[in-house]
Amino acid sequence: MPNANQDIIVLDGVTKRFPGVLANDAVSLTIRSGEVHVLLGENGAGKSTLIDMLSGVQQPDDGHIFVDGKPTAITSPRHALALGVGTVFQHTMLVPSLTVAENLLLGAPWWQRPRKAELRVRAAAIGNNLGITPNLEALTSSLSLGQQQQVEILRALLRNSRVLILDESTSMLTPQGIEELGALVRKLAGQGLAIVFITHKLKEAVAFGDRVSVLKLGRKVGEIDAGQLRSRSETTIISDIVELMFGKRSDDPEGAVQRSHSPEKTANALLEVRDLYVPATPGNHGLESVSFSIGQGEVLGLAGIDGNGQKQLAEALAGQLPAVAGSIRLGPAQITGLSVGRRRAAGLRYLTDDRLGEGIVGDFPVAINLFLKEVGAPPLWRHGIEQRSAIEARAGELIRQYDVRTPSPRTPAGRLSGGNIQKLILARELAFGAKLIIFNKPTHGLDLANTLAARQWIKDIAAGGMGVLLISTDLEELLALSDRIAVMSRGRIAGIVDNSGAARMAVGRLMTGLAA
């Protein structure tokens, strides 16, 4: 066992750039044995990139990583494991069709016979202390998510890890599972392991952590050490962290004037959703009694950590995902049981966040993609026959009107840039009788110019009297555009707040699992 609180890994001014994004900007932090180091931050704060660099998946562009005091380049995941850095990812990395023992034996040299007897002894030796005693012969798919995580932790320990990275391990667990994991993490730290614990939930951070680092937009904006954590009250610490995570920066280039909430807009509800229920699937939240309304000309922002049911809500509204219970009313019409096409005809439009995967067919021409949801409708199709010249002429008009930069209407849509694909989809969804538009992460992956343009459309659409549901993980965007902001957490609406001066902190608290 290493001595307590000895530095194992030190990051010194580590920087990682991706095209158009500064994922990590001169981040420095220290990972010590016997200490639980919590990394906090919103989506896009740079946590995943940091983990990737620690686990050898990415290399820093600048700065140094010291392992045991020596500057070390962690060149591959294999190298990371050899250095004693084990990672448990958010989504389980076990093979569901193999038994627990087989999963634990994976990665051994291929020419050796699996050493099951040895595994049994070692697993018992390590696991008994910690209370991890999985049935080694059980099929992995028969375990609960919490048990699978324990197996992954056990696997990391079997590989003699000194540093254990837990990447959003609590996001899919039940409250009971979170408690158990927390206790396990404390025990591991007690045995001298260094733990890096990534989470969105402040309560977990304060309850399980010895040290908390807060990341925001790639930068480390604050650190709270063990002394502070112990000496100050939980409430003051939490309010400090909320301030660090969500407090307004003065130099935000995208910062826009906050919309003032106008209550008369909500008086006449355009979209009324009541008690929508969608069952959860393995690894995905469902929806649980989701209710809200959107007025004419209103932008309802939907905040939340990615993967808390926002996409399920969008798909359930668009008709792609069947809702088991609940009702949806658009204007005067009940659209609850209608097909995707009928809902579109009724005026409900969904701009998906998965623009390449489902928004367009990349191999098909721009012109066809512009009418992908109107295939067969006159006048572009007559008696089911494609009217090529009419299609290209109409496509040309839309391309000019929405400024889609494409060499020709016949160019495969997949060759366009992300911003132009977004414009193509916008042109398609705003056509003919749109009343309510669902934007799912409309600016995700766009450069600054296209981001600002997309935000302008949303303002214009709302000004034109349509309703907007704006799903985003970018709090600045929601604050700049929304009239009200709803927060989703674990498939439920945790709360809806008016976008006034206090909204930033209220939404931040709801997102991190606190009451507004």
């Binding site: 097909s339 995967g357 928004g359 067919v361 191999d363 949801k373 067969g376 494609e386």
Partner: protein, 341 residues
């Protein structure tokens, strides 16, 4: 710079001719005399070219069915079973109907019946794929084994012609079969096959229905997002694809054989699959490649008798073409990618 499509198709064929020639040479056959013989018997002799054109009829129908399925992203590998059941349906009903009504109407009803029987045979894999997501490659292949056996059972036990000693169905008299074209032995089924494949080509490229199928094939998730009824379209694709395979069976029986003998299975479907890939699922290119394939198989059948090269060598050749084609495509893609900035 893009390598022209035509070169990318012709080049591999020439390369395959050379490789297949080497295989022949190793087997102790002079490749030049083999190719010359195949060409002579399959294309250049009057009897040979007529046989070649006649062989094209069922192959074109099957190719049409495969084009629909493959473009919609559905791998119907069960065409052989569908073909045989269509053939048995035509052979069983043809002689009966021809006695009851005008020949033209009887033949038409046979076509309809064969198409329906084959379409029905594809219903199980279609429903499993559409509503349960069961991989159709497995189910259609399994159904083809069952279909082939069922066709045999029907011939041996149900539609057996009591007048003959060999187990076979009643024979449709030559005068009641599909008319021959002009003064040749070429069946008018060829016209039917050409119509089928051109109609399919136009349907896939020019109609809303064809576009919907292509959207499902290119991106099932985009299809779902766009609100297409993917399960219903899937069932329709299976029905059309299998129906055309059944039609091919009827064309072969009503135009050429007149009956189905027990254990008869020409396995056209498996042979046509690579041909459709060579044609990149384009209807017009498929006509050209089916023609080429027919020359090779008719010529190859003669060469098998004369030069002792097994008849399946045609399939060896087609396989070599496909492998060379895949390699050529892989390398041109890599070259064009490395040139991009």
């Amino acid at each position: 710079m893009m390598v022209p499509r035509l070169l990318l198709t012709i080049g591999p064929i020439i390369a395959a001719l050379i490789i297949a020639g080497a295989v022949l040479a190793v087997a102790g056959v002079n490749p030049l005399s083999y190719y010359a013989y195949v060409l002579q018997r399959g294309l250049l002799s009057p009897g040979g070219v007529q046989q070649t054109l006649t062989r094209m009829a069922p192959l074109l129908c099957i190719a049409a069915g495969l084009i629909i399925a493959f473009r919609a992203g559905i791998w119907n590998l069960g065409t052989d079973g569908q073909f045989l059941l269509g053939a048995v349906a035509a052979a069983a009903s043809g002689p009966l109907l021809a006695e009851m009504m005008p020949v033209g109407l009887a033949l038409f009803l046979c076509f309809v019946l064969s198409t329906l029987v084959a379409a029905l045979w594809s219903l199980l894999p279609a429903l499993l794929r559409a509503y349960q997501g069961v991989n159709e490659i497995i189910t259609t292949l399994m159904m083809t084994f069952l279909g082939t056996s069922l066709a045999n059972v029907l011939v041996k036990l149900v539609f057996l012609d009591p007048a003959t000693t060999v187990p076979q169905t009643r024979t449709l008299p030559v005068e009641d079969r599909l008319p021959r074209l002009f003064d040749t032995t070429v069946t008018s089924g060829l016209i039917l096959g050409l119509i089928a494949i051109i109609a399919v080509h136009l349907m896939m490229t020019r109609t809303a229905f064809g576009l919907r199928l292509r959207i499902v094939g290119a991106s099932p998730r985009a299809a779902l997002h766009a609100g297409l009824g993917v399960p219903a379209l899937t069932v329709a694709v299976f029905a059309l694809s299998a129906g055309l395979a059944g039609l091919a069976g009827a064309v072969d029986i009503l135009g050429v054989y007149g009956n189905v003998r027990t254990d008869w299975d020409p396995a056209y479907g498996m042979a046509v699959i690579p041909v459709v890939f060579l044609a990149r699922m384009n209807g017009f290119a498929a006509i050209a490649f089916v023609f080429l394939f027919s020359i090779l198989s008719i010529g190859g059948e003669s060469a098998a008798r004369r030069l002792g090269v097994p008849q399946n060598f045609t399939l060896v050749f087609v396989a070599i073409v496909l492998i060379v084609l895949a390699l050529a495509e892989y390398y041109t893609k890599r070259i064009s990618q490395s040139r991009e900035p």
